[in-house]
């Protein structure tokens, strides 16, 4: 198969009407429709229990769907499971590994499971990239938590998947390693690998993702290009540090919806960055008229985290 021929916007994963009700009767996913495109980094965000892992596990064949279909590169995950699954690598959220095996054996095991002939050169390359090569003969019990996480990544990459799922890859990984991991993810993407990750570090999604999906209570509440999302929902704030702290404002200023912070020392005005009229000139003028002086001002944009929190709260 020629990777270059794949259209940038063709679907690597295509999910329709997917629902999951666990045996307990709990509805973990409710009518999910989602397209993941070839070659993108897609971040799935959502609070604990939102259904992220359930969704990933269904795509990978670990959990059975109650309803709906999933196509991986056009292959149905249930009826053409071999073709679908052989394209996918999964780094699970839980650190589950065969404790008494050696690092190298368990990575080779994974490659075999996915139907590939052994390839020591390639395995060496990924183990080196993940700084595990020196540990290759160690038993897994002797690895630290962060090393185990990297081992799971090595296992997931062992069969050269075209689609990689990272379910909270950075949980328990230190800052430097997290940076390294991001670099690795980018490199994989440059080689045409589609990446879907979940994370609770929103700055990670902000830094890495091309598109972001937000899931809450088993429903996808938003899927958007990251830049557009930031733009669309991005609120800007103007913070004015006052000469003299205040506790109340003149009633004429009520329409600006101002708020105080820092014990009245800072006045905050929130406005929509998309709007033509930001209202700032008026505000400043009115403040002047009422003799409220400020000594400093700065503006800030809301982060993805703020957007996320407000979206999830809303629903």
């Amino acid at each position: 198969m020629d990777k270059k021929k794949i259209n940038c916007l063709s679907s690597a994963i295509s999910i329709h009407n997917l629902s999951k009700t666990y045996a307990s009767g709990f509805v973990a996913l409710n009518n999910i429709d989602l397209e993941i495109y070839h070659g993108e980094i897609f971040a799935l965000l959502g609070p604990n229990g939102a259904g992220k892992t359930t969704l990933i596990n269904i795509i990978c064949g670990i959990v059975t769907p109650s309803e709906g279909t999933i196509m991986v590169d056009g292959h149905n995950t249930l009826t053409a499971f071999r073709a679908a699954r052989s394209r996918i690598g999964l780094v699970p959220q839980e650190l589950s590994t065969a404790a008494f095996e050696s690092v190298l054996n368990t990575v080779n095991f994974s490659r075999g499971l996915f139907g590939k002939a052994s390839n020591p050169t390639y395995i060496e390359k990924i183990l080196r990239e993940l700084s595990l090569w020196d540990k290759r003969h160690e038993k897994i019990v002797a690895l630290s938590g962060g090393m185990k996480r990297r081992l799971l990544i090595a296992k997931a990459l062992s069969h050269e998947p075209q689609i990689l799922f990272l379910d909270e890859p950075s949980a328990g990984v230190d800052v430097k390693l997290r940076r390294d991991m991001w670099l690795m993810v980018r490199r994989l993407r440059e080689n045409g690998v589609t990446i879907i990750l979940t994370t609770h570090y929103i700055e990670e999604a902000e830094e890495m993702a091309d598109r972001i999906g937000i899931i809450n209570n088993g429903e996808i509440i938003m899927v958007e290009n990251k830049a557009i999302l930031m733009n669309k929902l991005g609120k800007k704030q103007l913070a004015l540090t006052l000469q003299n702290p205040l506790s109340t404002l003149p009633s004429e200023l009520e329409k600006f919806n101002l708020s105080f912070s820092d014990g009245g020392k800072v006045l905050i005005y929130t406005y929509d960055a998309q709007q033509e009229q930001t209202g700032i000139p008026e505000l400043l003028q009115q403040l002047g008229e009422h003799g409220i002086d400020f000594k400093d001002l700065n503006t800030s944009e809301s982060s993805l985290e703020d957007i996320f929190v407000s979206l999830v709260k809303e629903k």
């Binding site: 666990y22 045996a23 596990n57 990978c60 064949g61 670990i62 959990v63 059975t64 499971f81 071999r82 073709a83 679908a84 699954r85 052989s86 996918i88 999964l90 699970p92 839980e94 589950s96 590994t97 065969a98 404790a99 008494f100 095996e101 054996n105 080779n108 095991f109 994974s110 490659r111 075999g112 499971l113 996915f114 139907g115 590939k116 002939a117 296992k155």
Partner: protein, 253 residues
């Protein structure tokens, strides 16, 4: 067919055996040797022959069966239970591999271990008692069929068990008694009625009888029935496994 996957599972399982060599091979051999010493050499020398065979030689097939059954079951059960318990099964479930291939890998490895073990016990027995094997090919056939069948059965127990106790309870509470009462140490026509008739409901009787026939040409029940019983049980196990994978029972949520 995903041969690489079958091989990967098989090698992985076999390497577990070598790693735990003492437990998986040495200890069954040791305990069987103790039986040979006590029943074969010590007590056996005071016992008369059964059907013209010395008591020490008479108990060899039954003792091998005893190890074969319990080791097949526990190896196969543990082999699949442990990844389920530790969470590493996710990888097998997410791999492009069919249930038949999973079974071939796990059950194949468990059965191989049992076959190796059975042959080792057979060689060890030579140290304690004299015996000859009348139908070696049939002996091997029974050995292989029994190992596979009971590894399948163990695999089912491993899939079904959701704690360590369940893992042990069937081998301990069902298989051990059935084997002891299945004619490992006596010929069933030595039993008084109604036990002689009741014993025929014990499936292990057919296994031991058939296996002993391959050694000495004597059997409590017809050999064809013995073979039929093994095949029947094997098919039953295969069907059960097929159903488990199809429904995802205790495997997938």
């Amino acid at each position: 067919m995903n041969f690489y996957a079958i091989r990967a599972i098989y090698i992985f399982e076999m390497s577990r055996t070598w790693r735990t060599l003492m437990q998986s091979i040495a200890s069954p051999i040791l305990s069987t040797s103790l039986y040979f010493v006590v029943f074969g050499a010590a007590i056996g020398s005071r016992m008369g022959e059964i059907d013209g065979i010395s008591y020490g030689a008479f108990i060899i097939p039954g003792l091998i069966m005893l190890s074969l059954l319990s080791e097949s079951i526990s190896n196969a059960a543990f082999g699949i239970y442990f990844p389920k318990f530790s969470g590493t099964l996710y990888e097998v479930l997410s791999a492009p591999i069919s249930s038949l291939e999973i079974v071939m890998g796990y059950v194949g490895a468990a059965a191989s271990k049992s076959i190796i073990l059975g042959l080792l016990i057979l060689m060890t027995a030579q140290l304690f008692v004299d015996y000859e094997i009348m139908h070696p090919l049939w002996m091997i056939t029974f050995l292989i069929l029994t190992s596979i069948t009971f590894s399948l059965f163990g695999f089912i127990i491993g899939l079904w068990a959701d704690d360590f106790q369940k893992l042990q309870i069937i081998p301990l509470m069902v298989v051990m008694p059935l084997t002891f009462l299945g004619g490992a140490f006596y010929s069933i026509d030595m039993l008084p009625e109604p036990w002689q008739t009741l014993t025929l409901f014990n499936p292990v009787v057919y296994l031991i009888s058939g296996f002993r026939w391959s050694f000495y040409g004597i059997a409590d029940v017809n050999v064809a029935i013995s073979l039929g019983m093994i095949f029947g049980f094997m098919l039953l196990c295969l069907a059960t496994i097929q159903w488990i994978f199809k429904t995802g029972y205790r495997l997938k949520t």
